[in-house]
């Protein structure tokens, strides 16, 4: 009897303690099943890992209260209808900040919901209209390839003497946009585009036919626009086996493990954009995150290195904007220009900011550092870290 009473009282106090700690709900809305499941799942895993780390420390301080961070993740199956319904559900739960969705199709459908509900989302879709006035409630969650492209091409033009450039895109909306923007950037740099408009179907198993026509034009650099992590090693392997000697690069994050498994040493020299993937630039906080992520999911995914930023920047911006911003995104928006902190994940590099004014005429992009990696001996090595303004 006594024990029960003690337990009851104990539970009561724990309950009070829990009730006293306010909860900050952050949404994740993205594709978590089907062929593209990895995109949304990495968003979800990254956010959940960060939230768990923060909650273990007692919560996130905004104003004078420490908030328990709760992640509400919803699968949209890459279907715009479900994505919009998910967004409605999240805002109906009082969620004002949503990470995702992952492609133009779903991001386009979610945008009106965000505007009506006065909420903010962080899509991983590159369509410029989403971030350009009159729209302003979507913030691009990563470096767009059209931003990474010029930086990489410029580097390769200057350092490696690249003159002729060829593009190959995965035949989906985002990669095609990436290719288009990449071609524009190459033209601006005065590079000679030897093939234009080449794509491969998702699900292609043999890339020789696709590559053959491109390699016949003898490019110095072959850009794989929006290439999926599983396709990259195959494309690299096929190109090398067909005798291609030039450079290969992509503007999307890749997976070192599969590059090593499938292409092995043939993938050496492959250039891609990643997060803080290489130990040489990782801060202790990033190392902790990698450890926690690996424990939670079972395996590290390099893509998480770019997707770790969204939640971190939402929380830090809220800290700066004050508790009222939790429910008022206008305050959040006003704080965007003021936000400027040292990058918690990458050592000694430009500060973390909201960027994108040059592209969208307003800061509607997470200023994720552009870590340009080269694959070597089964691992990524950082070539240089660039940034976007």
């Amino acid at each position: 009897m006594k024990a029960t009473a003690v337990l009851g009282v104990g539970l009561f106090f724990i309950g009070v303690a829990l009730a006293q700690q306010p909860v900050l709900k952050i949404g994740v809305n993205g594709v978590m099943s089907g062929p593209a499941a990895s995109w949304g799942l990495v968003n979800k895993y990254s956010a959940e890992t960060t939230a768990a780390m923060i909650n273990a420390e007692g919560g996130w301080k905004i104003g004078d209260k420490k908030y328990k961070v709760e992640i509400v993740a919803l699968d949209d199956k890459n279907d715009p209808k479900i994505s919009a319904a998910n967004a409605e559900k999240l805002v109906s739960m009082g969620v004002k900040y949503i990470i995702g969705p992952n492609v133009d199709t779903t991001a386009g459908a979610v945008m009106p919901v965000m505007e009506k509900a006065k909420a903010i989302n962080f899509p991983y879709a590159f369509s410029k209209e989403l971030y350009t006035p009159p729209h302003g409630n979507s913030i691009l969650g990563m470096i767009a390839s059209y931003q990474a492209g010029p930086v990489i091409y410029k580097y390769l033009k200057e350092k490696k003497g690249v003159k002729n450039i060829a593009f190959l895109a995965r035949n989906e909306a985002d990669p095609l946009n990436q290719m288009k923007e990449g071609e524009d950037a190459a033209k601006m740099l005065g590079l000679n585009i030897v093939t234009s408009g080449a794509t491969y179907e998702p699900g292609t198993t043999d890339f020789a036919p696709v590559l053959q026509g491109i390699l016949a034009k003898n490019p110095d650099l072959l850009v794989l626009s929006g290439v999926a992590p599983g396709d990259a090693p195959l494309l690299i392997k096929s190109a090398r086996e067909m005798g291609y000697k030039g450079l290969l690069s992509t503007e999307t994050a890749q997976d070192a493990k599969i590059l090593q498994q499938v292409a092995g040493s043939l993938a050496d020299g492959f250039i891609s954009v990643g997060g803080a993937s290489t130990p040489s630039i990782q801060t202790p906080y990033m190392l902790d995150f990698v450890k926690a992520y690996t424990k939670r999911v079972g395996e590290w995914n390099d893509e998480a290195g770019t997707k770790v930023y969204a939640l971190e920047m939402i929380l830090r911006t809220l800290q700066l904007a004050g508790p009222a911003a939790i429910n008022d995104v206008e305050l959040f928006k006003k704080t965007l220009t003021k936000f400027n902190i040292p990058n918690p994940f990458v050592k000694g590099n430009p500060p973390l900011k909201f960027v994108g004014s040059a592209y969208f005429s307003q800061p509607r992009q997470l200023g994720v550092p552009m870590v340009v990696n080269e694959f070597k001996d089964g691992k990524f090595q950082t070539l240089f870290v660039g940034s976007v303004e």
């Binding site: 715009p80 319904a85 805002v91 199709t105 386009g108 909306a173 095609l176």
Partner: protein, 312 residues
Amino acid sequence: MNRLLGPLIGLALYLGIVPLLIHGSSYWLTVFINISLLAFTSLGVWLTFYIGRINIAQGAFALIGGYAVAVLTTLHGWPFWLALPMAGLVAGLVGGVVGSTILRLRGVYFAMLTLCLTEATRLLALNWTGVTQGASGIIGIPTPFGGDSSYLQAYFFSALLLLAGLLAIWRITQCRMGRVFRALQAHEDLAASIGINVAQYRVLAFSIACAFGGLGGAVLTVFLQSIYPTSFNVTNSTDFMLYCFLGGLQFVLGPAVGALVLFLGFQLLSALGSYQALVYAILMVLAMLLLPNGLLSLRFSVRQKSMREGQV
């Protein structure tokens, strides 16, 4: 007339009680708007089943309708109320032209071909950049529903559209045309031998079905205010088919029940987190295993059973 009472009460509830119950929650209204529109679109698939064809092309016609309304309102400045019927008309016409040839196929052959048609339409939308703007899609499509009650307006509009669709399909099944369609389902050759112009009726049914697809796709597109080549794809086409199957092919209400159960089911299962898709799939397979003739067959088999027992 008694037969009609049940469905009519159900629809009255749907129109009256649902909005009251969900207190104007924009989330629940969105869910039911989607259900109404998906059910409406699936009615077309149901009609093709009615003439004995398995149709996995409805995603293609929803896409056609969606692009029609998007292009007309956004690029040519048409008002929605003019563009909407146009979208249905375009989809119906395309359906008629395509149908006049592919309807010669039957069974799984027709099914597989319509599946390819969905994929071909996506690729067409991607490549025909002059009209569709290709991969960049069309966004910022104007919506006719505005103000504070925009969700409620959209809800009533889609519910009434579904109601009209159900009535139209029900009327079709009751009149001479419906008898002809049933004859086509049972035995085309026999129908031809008694002097029915089989080809003409098949095309007619398919055009109506595709017009349903075009209208449904158009309203969905306007509701989402954006369209891309992947907005309606093979997954959607198979979903539309599943709604009909799961509800029950013998019943006009089948697609509506199927859409309700499957769309609402997925939403309700979101509480399961990572297991949502898995549990959803398990429940769906269980439903098929236990009720291979559709959810509505449950009601009828119970009734038949009690009738039989009553007689003994």
